[in-house]
Assembly symmetry: C2
């Protein structure tokens, strides 16, 4: 029988989530055994859940019998954040074409900035973060902008915890960052000179909605000097204004993640 040593308190929902999170961390398709060890769930349980998820196409099986995230899940998820993404996309693409650089649009999600779309200039894809990737707020240009224009206590809260050094030049000193963010709020832009990845620098400006920062748009380039990045400011600002204008008619909830509603900063 089963119950004897089973750890109680894990809902089915949490198990399903654990499985999907296992896929998020994995580099490619996974075998049953790999999923088991990643989630810590017993084989037969995982097997049954995988079979159920596969039958509804939330997962797919590769020809070798491994499992991978299914396109059906992608379909269901398309609704999330669609308004902002689709409204902003044309402007992002224009900006990428005009500047011939990589452009991203990001939102704040807890203590990270989350890339929700990007466009390329020519072929310089390598430096631009992928869609869906997360970066700590203090390292990326977009993150700094999102933080700089947040409410005082969100910013305080964020800076009070230890900050990770992604590269040798990532700013992690609290006092220094406070000043940098104050300057960013003043000037209306922030930059990150190789603070995320060596060789990649970026400049970002905020996009507002109903009086709050909703997102940030960011140009990523291989340039290493501020003066070069600053050239892009007028184009960036013009694009931000266009996006603000295009999203004005959208509801606040469609543009600003629901977590923002009460100003909370949930920890992961």
């Amino acid at each position: 029988m089963a119950g004897g040593s089973r750890e109680p308190g894990r809902s089915v929902t949490s198990k399903i989530l654990a499985i999907f999170e296992a896929f998020e961390a994995a580099p490619g398709p996974m075998t049953l055994a790999e999923i088991c060890s990643a989630t810590g769930l017993p084989t037969s349980t995982v097997h049954r859940l995988l079979a159920e998820l596969s039958s509804s196409e939330l997962l797919e099986r590769t020809s070798s019998g491994r499992y991978q995230v299914g396109i059906r899940l992608w379909e269901l998820a398309q609704k999330a954040g669609r308004h902002l993404r689709e409204t902003a996309r044309p402007w992002i693409q224009d900006l990428a074409a005009v500047t011939n650089q990589g452009v991203t649009i990001t939102v704040r999600k807890g203590r990270d900035s989350l890339v929700i779309d990007r466009a390329h200039g020519d072929q310089n894809l390598a430096v631009t973060s992928k869609v869906g990737s997360r970066l700590p707020l203090h390292a990326s240009a977009a993150g700094k902008v999102l933080l700089a224009f947040e409410t005082e206590w969100v910013r305080r809260n964020y800076l009070s915890e230890p900050l990770r050094k992604l590269t040798p030049v990532t700013h992690v000193d609290q006092r220094e960052l406070e000043e940098e963010l104050a300057a960013a709020a003043q000037d209306g832009y922030a930059q990150s000179l190789q603070e995320v990845r060596a060789g990649a620098s970026a400049i970002a400006v905020p996009v507002f909605h109903s009086g709050q920062v909703a997102s940030a748009i960011c140009i990523v380039a291989e340039a290493s000097r501020v003066t070069e990045l600053k050239r892009y400011l007028p184009a960036l600002r013009a694009t931000a204004a266009k996006i603000e204008n295009a999203t004005r008619h959208l509801s606040r909830d469609a543009v600003i993640g629901a977590e923002y509603a009460d100003g909370s900063l949930p920890q992961d």
Copy 2:
């Protein structure tokens, strides 16, 4: 007590899926009561599941207390089909910029074509299908291509069932379509002249991977004459070749949906 009249045989997984599918059909955020009537599940059950899904951010609550699909679900789903989407994107965008028309890339999913990415030319977004939208294979240009280059029995199977007329000019006669698809296979492209939406026409070519159709790329324009659409053929073909080349190193499972693996055509 509970069990008395409860309908057995519904797993938790199926209930969660039902909830997400309710969101897919809805135009915007939903209230608890709306989700209940959409799914047919009892209020308290839905309430508990929603609370659980919201706590893991798979769903979000709007400021008015309604529920909507959360960005976390979108994040988890980003992995699905990422390789094809991200590899193809630059070429799609270039094609859109060069032709100044809307461009989509689609894959076959059961009896539908599914738009997995798009790019715009100038501002003509209205005519191009949204990312994530499905269209029957016989109506869209991309669908015709996907069908024309499929194996004989998949095509037969598809044509044997009744076909829906999306507009007055949608081709639905089996014999006629068979000939049209044969011609498409011969010529290497297919078109749809206002067969999906009045005023929108399109031309599409296949993208192959390991000897099979993997996807189709499609130019959507307001043009209504074939000759105009045909102008885009060289550019389309060049783009398809570039994508084929860029995806060559990818595994078959990353490019072709797993359902293709055994050639099956699952019904919804």
